[in-house]
């Protein structure tokens, strides 16, 4: 993990954001389902999920996105909360047992905004989520 972080200015153009890694478990997915109020059995019911195209339970997309948001909060502080935007696409399902790593890179600064390419991958290197994010510079 490369860190080019200045608490005032934030990461520099071309710099990598400090990555965030989490190990997913069914218990964590269940906890998120309770907090997020999303009881879709694809996430919480192993028997139901086994019959789906996924063959087992999967994590909520918003849980994986929350990991990425934590990385952005750590990198950009209150700017991530006060003037930011993200466009994310969920590409592959995250599953219990996966290690999810959020990472990203500052691409450019333009018109007072900092633009980043960010993603989450599992331990096999598969992209779970890819996104473009921007925050006030």
């Amino acid at each position: 993990m490369t860190e080019q972080f200045d608490r005032e200015a934030g990461p520099k153009v071309g710099g990598e954001l400090s990555s965030v890694a989490k190990v997913l478990t069914q218990e964590k997915i269940d906890r998120y389902a309770r907090a997020g109020g999303d009881g879709n059995p694809l996430h919480t019911d192993p028997e139901f999920a086994a019959q789906s195209q996924f063959g087992g339970t999967i994590a909520h997309g918003m849980l994986v996105l929350a990991y990425l948001s934590e990385m952005m909060t750590a990198a950009f502080g209150s700017r991530w909360l006060s003037s930011s935007r993200i466009k994310a696409r969920f590409r592959t399902a995250a599953r219990p047992g996966d290690t999810v790593t959020a990472s990203g890179r500052v691409e450019r600064t333009e018109n007072g905004r900092t633009f980043c390419t960010v993603e989450c991958r599992n331990q096999h290197g598969e992209v779970l989520l890819s996104a473009k994010a921007e925050v006030v510079a």
């Binding site: 789906s52 997309g61 929350a66």
Partner: protein, 139 residues
């Protein structure tokens, strides 16, 4: 009785729903997502994705999400920090709806405002769900 989400048409407007970011709920959320960064900004700050998650949940309370629904994409824009204890309201509209091979693909625009009607967050959720076999096309 909530309506089935997949049966709703493009242009359908979800009624505005008020919700409360109680400190207890925010702590449960932050614990569930293991957010180790938000506390560094002040102990009363709400993780921005918590606002997104709770507003989506509030909106979908008025429409039943079919089992097997899959979240394909999420766009979010945040306009100001949100603190624990705030009361917000979410409104939404189905921006597009298509059908393909027995599945519905839907984009839902959402808007979250505070009690002063100032914009807090906007978003677009893209979701796909199995089409109810007995239902006529509403694309």
């Amino acid at each position: 009785m909530p309506l089935n989400l997949e049966a709703l048409s493009k242009g359908h407007e979800f009624p505005s729903v008020a919700f409360h970011l109680s400190s207890q709920w925010v702590r449960e959320y932050a614990e569930a997502v293991e957010d180790g960064a938000i506390a560094g900004l002040g102990r009363d700050m709400v993780p921005p994705m918590a606002v997104a998650a709770l507003s989506i949940r509030a909106l979908l309370d008025s429409a039943r999400l079919p089992t097997g629904a899959i979240h394909l994409g999420q766009e979010v824009a945040f306009f100001r920090p949100v603190g624990m204890g705030e009361r917000l309201s979410a409104a939404g509209r189905i921006a597009s709806r298509g059908e393909r091979q027995g599945w519905v693909i839907m984009r839902i625009d959402l808007k979250v405002e505070d009690e002063a009607l100032a914009l807090v967050m906007t978003g677009r959720t893209t979701v796909t769900m199995p089409l109810d076999q007995g239902q006529e096309s509403r694309t």
